[in-house]
């Protein structure tokens, strides 16, 4: 497979220094998609999105068109944009909100029109201070430009868009926790069923939750047609997608790539992309889609960047973040750090997640410090099994949300792939990489 040169669907403007301004946006085709959409019927706009087969970019990869069609018809409905982006090593929405906020606003208004929603909330993680300012400024300009608010571009369609700052909690990326947080509460995920947002969402009203990148694709899709989008990529994974590449590569960064036609090997090693592993080291493992995802080894490098392809191989494309670990990386330490992340970010509702994450973290920490016991490996796996029964992928769960059932991924990946390394820690009483 080869690196293709698809149209830049969401990153066309980021080469400009003033990419975030209304002037630049208008000069580069901005709000044309919206004008076109407003001339269509809402159903026709939704049909284009459906035809594009745009998969959600927030992690779960659910087709946006299908999600929209599930919205329960009710007098009051909401659209909520998920810009919490806190999944470790994911930093693509960061780019989109800072560098092309109008594209997000335009996408949001298009979606609101298709869904006939009159109030939209853009939830951005609070740590995006600049992003919050840029999106707010873009909104102020868009209101003044007539692209948001009452009677948009004279079409008769009206919608308000409100930017809502988060306050620092990973779990608020989970859509129901996000809604709780947006209601001014702790980010405690709601139980599904029955609290599927499309049925019982914000304030109990039907709500669509979509990711920033998902929304940012809409102006292009409306302008060029769903079919043009669907012509890119392959299988269910159509179009392009942002991949956030981090860890041990020469050129970490965000890359917009055509799905499926590109492979992990391309992403990590191609000179125009990741540029390979520095210091002449080899690849030990990589995490294909956020820290919830089971790890892959060098033998999976040839996998295409496609949602189903990765799923079939036992992991997930998730939020599109790829973390590369070179062969000098301590697998125990890496898995411990990820476990510590989950422990710090567990919302604390569910017993298995609240207590289990802390317990697993302490065991992992003990092993990494060289105080492990051989029995710890079985204990780790069994405790993991009590959070995600069977340790299958996708996981089963004893918890409310999938944060809980994601905890075991890194531990079981590390133990399965690098059991010897654990044993060395235990037998030698310390980390061999220190």
């Amino acid at each position: 497979m080869a690196i293709t040169d698809p149209p830049k669907i969401v990153t066309s403007r980021i080469g400009y220094d003033d990419s975030h301004t209304l002037e630049r946006y208008l000069a580069t085709g901005g709000y044309e998609g919206l004008r076109k959409a407003l001339a269509m019927t809402p159903e026709a706009v939704a049909a284009e999105v459906d035809a594009a087969s745009l998969l959600g970019r927030g992690g779960a990869g659910f087709p946006a068109g299908r999600k929209w069609s599930m919205l329960r018809k009710a007098p009051v409905t909401y659209l909520v944009v998920n810009g919490d982006e806190s999944e470790p090593a994911t930093f693509k929405d960061h780019l989109l909100v800072e560098r092309d906020p109008h594209q997000l606003v335009e996408g949001v208004v298009i979606a609101a029109f298709a869904l006939q929603v009159s109030q939209v909330f853009i939830f951005l993680r609070g740590e995006f201070a600049l992003g919050l300012e840029r999106v707010q400024a873009a909104l102020n300009d868009a209101y003044a430009h007539g692209a948001v608010g009452r009677d948009i571009f004279g079409s008769g369609f009206s919608v308000d868009v409100v930017v809502h700052p988060g306050a620092g909690a990973y779990i608020c990326g989970e859509e129901t926790a996000l809604l709780e947080s947006l209601e001014g509460k702790r980010g405690f995920p709601r139980i599904k069923p029955p609290f599927f947002p499309a049925a019982i969402g914000l304030y109990g009203d039907p709500t669509v939750v979509n990711n920033v990148e998902t929304m940012s694709n809409l102006p292009w899709i409306v302008r060029n047609g769903g079919a043009a989008f669907a012509a890119l990529g392959g299988g269910r994974s159509t179009g392009t997608r942002l991949f956030a590449l981090a860890g041990h590569v020469h050129n970490p960064g965000v890359y917009e790539l055509e799905m499926v036609t590109t492979t992990f090997d391309d992403l990590i090693n191609a000179p125009v992309l990741g540029g390979g592993i520095p210091h002449g080291r080899g690849l030990k493992a990589f995490i294909p889609g956020g820290v919830s995802a089971p790890w892959f080894g060098p033998d999976q490098l040839d996998l295409p960047l496609g949602q189903d392809e990765v799923a079939e191989a036992g992991s997930m494309l998730g939020s599109g973040s790829v973390v590369v670990m070179d062969d000098h990386t301590c697998a125990v330490r890496a898995a411990w750090r990820i476990t510590k992340f989950f422990s710090r970010e567990s919302c604390g509702q569910c017993t298995p997640c609240r207590e289990g994450s802390g317990w697993l973290e302490r065991i992992m920490d003990r092993i990494e410090r060289g105080e492990g016991r051989e029995a710890d490996l079985d204990l780790l796996l069994d405790a993991c099994d009590n959070i995600a029964p069977g340790l299958t992928w996708p996981p089963q769960q004893t918890t409310i949300c999938v944060l809980g059932s994601s905890i075991p991924s890194s531990i079981s990946s590390a133990i399965t792939m690098f059991r010897d390394e654990f044993l060395v820690h235990i037998k030698e009483g310390g980390c061999p990489y220190d």
């Binding site: 909690a169 702790r186 139980i191 069923p193 422990s343 710090r344 970010e345 567990s346 919302c347 604390g348 509702q349 569910c350 017993t351 298995p352 609240r354 207590e355 289990g356 994450s357 802390g358 317990w359 302490r362 065991i363 003990r366 204990l379 405790a383 099994d385 009590n386 959070i387 029964p389 089963q396 769960q397 004893t398 918890t399 409310i400």
Partner: protein
């Protein structure tokens, strides 16, 4: 709030391979429990919204993608559903959850109050893994920290089930405790400097599944296996919550709420829960005493009763109205009946009153069509013409609040000041003292509303809501500084204008409605019968009844004090568990009356101010020390249980009355509390058919609403108590002390005769009171422009004896202040916290003020029975005037 009583559609589903029935909307966990399968749980509570967080109740539910683990507390049973609660996968998940819960749990069971009745301990034994695999350091927090005067929090023991925080928010409506932090650090906390002051805080202790929340008063009081229990009814106020009374070595250790559908849903208020401790007080009266040479000295019962008989006979020899009998609301029905018979049948006086000027005209209360609490909660509109329900009848507040918040109930509030239900009221209309009738007329007739209620849209909305039936009126005393006839008059107008409306009397004192039913009021005889209507019936039964209507408490005291020109002076007083010095609104009059009365008999359980004036003191058994029955605001007759032996020679009231009758030359034939009840059932027409056999039946465990003709009992069995919701009861039961109902009679006593025969050939049964009586409504002259009009309202924690005797509660009685409309305060040039001078016809006080924007102009309010400046608000009340006008001056 889950209403377990709602009958609804049923369907079938499969549970562990067998077919069971569930009701529409029922959660799996509840359906399984009714079908006999107990699914372990911590966070689920049948009276609160499920949250599904502890994950202990996981079961496997078959679905399109195979069986998945789901929380049975959060998934509704559905027709045809296939559920497994005992598969290997379920067991592993549950074991896992328990293990997770225990890793950070301190396992300090030996020093934990909950040890022995702890669901975590129990489920660990029943379901848990044998040994710990946890070798890491546990999470540490400072050991118990007080979060209020009554509740201690041990965060190390907390399992984050959120029962307490949900209770505070959902049920009590006061989110004073909440989780802080996140993840492993999630802990319950109050806001700094703002303690958990909810009147309902004790419920969180009861429903905490572990020992994280403990009650200061019960800390280390007893271990569950030392406890013994009986089911009873709380008589701290007149709501009549069902309770389990637990004791150890003849000391009451605690009260736990029992979940019954019609009344308390398992909840208790803190006053009811903790004031019960007063029975343990060290200074209980244990011996009869007679005043000799100015001091009370202990004597035998025989001697004391002789002195009483002689003294009372001497008084009534001057005419029956020379004797006044005050009180009786703290007695059982049997005690009240026995005293009514002694006073009215033997001594011939009708000057008998269970209310102390703080109630409502008895004929009104008994004559108006009565509502049950359930009827109020399911009404479309409840009109509130009463004081603050949370302060006076706390659990009624919870029921009404829940109905207004979760249900379809609209509240229309008529009140001089904001109350705790104001925020839930659809309409809240204000009026000044004396204006209740005018406001009601503006609502149901074409009257002009009082100035404070001139709000057309609110009036229109209130009229609309009153037009939507069914309507229940809660009628009580919005102010003790206002003549009872004034609010009674307004209630009467409502009864006439809304003939379908039902009334719930918001009278506060424990068994005041039972006492009225038993005839402890002037002009009444037992069975809600007027004196004249019942004359021939009771003459035939008792031999004699008073010649004519006697005086109520206010007139008795006035006549004793020599204030009354008409009628005979009162020379002898019997205080039936009452202290007019504390409870009568005009405190000065009460003092003068007691000082002037020639002969005062006090039937009492503990020392009090009134005893200083007593010539004879007769020690009585308290609540929890005697069996019998009590009657709540609905007219619900339920049994109170005896758990403790009364101290020393204290007797139950019925026995004191019966023995006194013997000393007066009449044997009433009472030889057990059961025989008293038999006579009540036979003679009191309102209680006809409520035989001992009925009261003893399982179907009557929640009480029986009198009269049976209006509310027939359905003899269904009560649902089993949820062992996690009532962990204490469950575990005491497991330790061997079954929860036996409070017995009105010995279990093997024969069912009583119906009494129909005894009436044969005698006089016809008298009719019960019905409709509103004639009232003597005083004229209220308009305020003079220089004065302010006083509202005297009640608070839960006041200087009453029940609170004072319990240190933990006494600390909650704070000094009060005068509440004033902010504009009036400005006009006076005073600010919050300043002192002002108040002058009434009776007294002058210097008091602190605080603004209260809910008060109409020129209306001020203060709470009764708490310190107010250099006195109490009752010092200012002069019962000679229907409303109290005060001069308010800045200092």
């Amino acid at each position: 709030m889950t209403d377990r009583a709602t009958p609804s559609e049923e369907f079938e589903f499969t549970l562990d391979g067998r077919t069971v029935r569930a009701r529409k909307g029922e959660m799996l966990i509840a359906a399984a429990e009714r079908a006999g399968t107990f699914i372990p749980r911590f966070c689920y509570h049948p009276r609160m919204q499920p949250v599904g967080v502890c994950r202990m109740c996981l079961v496997e539910v078959s679905g399109p993608r195979g069986a998945t683990l789901m929380p049975s507390c959060f998934i509704e049973a559905a027709p045809g559903m296939e559920v497994s609660s005992d598969s290997d996968k379920v067991k592993k998940a549950q074991d896992g959850v328990l293990e997770f819960l225990l890793i950070n749990h301190p396992l300090d069971c030996p020093v934990c109050d909950k040890g022995g009745e702890c669901p975590l301990q129990d489920q660990t034994l029943a379901y848990g893994p044998g040994e710990t695999r946890f070798v890491e350091e546990k999470r540490h927090f400072e050991k118990p920290i007080p979060i209020s005067e009554l509740v201690l929090l041990d965060r190390e023991r907390c399992i984050q089930c959120s029962r307490c925080t949900r209770f505070a928010d959902e049920v009590a409506g006061e989110a004073q405790i909440d989780f802080v932090g996140r993840g492993e650090q999630l802990q319950v906390a109050t806001f700094p400097e703002l303690p958990f002051t909810s009147y309902f805080s004790g419920n969180t202790v009861q429903i905490c599944p572990v020992g994280a929340l403990t009650a200061t008063p019960y800390r280390f009081a007893a271990r569950p296996w030392d406890l013994d229990q009986v089911e009873s009814t709380c008589t701290t106020c007149a709501v009549g919550c069902r309770v389990a009374v637990q004791s150890s070595s003849n000391r009451l250790t605690r009260l736990l709420g029992i979940d019954i559908d019609p009344v308390n849903h398992g909840w208790l208020c803190d006053k009811g829960r903790f004031a019960a401790d007063a029975v343990n007080r060290e200074d209980r009266l244990t011996e009869p005493m007679v005043r000799k040479d100015g001091t009370l000295v202990a004597v035998s019962w025989h001697e004391a009763l002789e002195v009483v008989a002689t003294g009372l006979r001497a008084a009534v020899d001057d005419g029956p109205d020379s004797l006044g009998v005050i009180g009786g609301a703290r007695l059982t029905n049997e005690g009240a009946y026995a005293w009514a018979r002694v006073a009215k049948g033997v001594l011939g006086t009708d000057s008998v009153d269970a209310q102390l000027g703080d109630g409502l005209p008895a004929e009104l209360v008994l004559g108006l069509p009565r509502a049950t609490i359930d009827q109020a909660a399911s009404a479309s509109t409840v009109l509130l013409l009463t004081g603050d329900v949370r302060e006076e009848l706390p659990i009624l507040f919870l029921r009404l609040r829940a109905a207004a918040v979760d249900g379809d109930l609209s509240l229309v509030e008529l009140s001089p000041q904001a109350t705790s239900l104001t925020e839930h009221a659809a309409v809240s209309l204000r009026y000044g003292p004396g204006d209740a009738r005018a406001l009601v007329d503006a609502l149901v007739a074409d009257g002009t509303p009082p100035a404070a209620a001139k709000d057309d849209s609110a009036l229109t909305e209130a009229r609309r809501l009153l037009g939507e039936g069914p309507v229940v009126v809660v009628v009580g005393r919005p102010s003790l500084a206002e003549d009872a006839e004034l609010v009674a008059d307004a209630a009467r107008a409502l009864a006439e204008a809304l003939p379908e409306a039902r009334f719930l009397p918001a009278l506060r004192r424990g068994n005041v409605l039972g006492a009225l039913d038993m005839g402890l009021a002037p002009g009444l005889l037992p069975g809600r019968v007027g004196l004249e209507d019942g004359r021939s019936w009771f003459e035939a039964a008792w031999g004699a009844v008073p010649d004519g209507r006697g005086r109520g408490t206010a007139d008795i005291l006035a006549a004793a004090a020599g204030d009354q020109a008409e009628g005979a002076p009162v020379t002898a007083l019997v205080l039936l568990g009452s202290d007019p010095l504390c409870d009568f609104p005009d405190r000065r009059l009460a003092r003068r009356a007691l000082e002037a009365a020639g002969f005062v008999v006090a039937v009492a359980t503990a020392p009090g101010d009134a005893l200083e004036h007593a010539d004879v003191v007769l020690p009585a058994a308290e609540a929890h020390e005697r069996p019998g029955t009590t009657t709540n605001i609905e007219g619900r007759v339920s049994r109170v249980g005896q758990k403790l032996v009364p101290p020393g020679q204290a007797w139950p009231d019925w026995m004191i009355a019966g023995e006194l009758a013997v000393h007066l030359g009449h044997d009433l034939g009472f030889d057990s509390v059961g025989t008293v009840w038999d006579e009540i059932e036979r003679l009191a027409v309102s209680h006809r058919g409520i035989t001992r056999a009925v009261l003893d039946s399982h179907g009557a465990a929640d009480g029986v609403v009198a009269p049976l003709s209006a509310n027939p009992v359905s003899l269904s069995r009560r649902a089993p108590l949820d062992p996690v919701a009532v962990p204490g009861v469950e575990s005491v039961e497991r330790q061997g002390a079954g929860l036996q109902a409070g017995l009105a009679t010995s279990p093997n006593a024969a069912a009583a005769a119906t009494g129909a025969d005894t009436a044969a050939g005698g006089p016809p049964r008298p009719p019960m009171l019905s409709g509103a009586p004639d009232l003597s409504v005083p004229h209220v002259s308009p305020a003079d422009g220089y004065s302010v009009r006083l509202v005297a309202s009640r608070v839960l924690y006041d200087g009453g004896s029940a609170v004072e005797a319990v240190p933990a509660l006494a600390g909650l009685v704070g000094p009060g202040s005068l509440r004033v409309n902010p504009q009036d305060l400005d006009a006076l040039g005073a600010a919050a916290g300043d002192q002002v001078r108040l002058r009434s016809t009776t007294a002058t006080l210097v008091v602190p003020v605080e603004p209260d924007p809910s008060l109409p102009r020129k209306v001020v309010a203060a709470d009764v029975n708490v310190p107010l400046g250099d006195g109490t608000v009752t010092d200012l009340i002069d019962r000679a005037f229907p409303v109290v006008d005060l001069r308010m001056e800045s200092l």
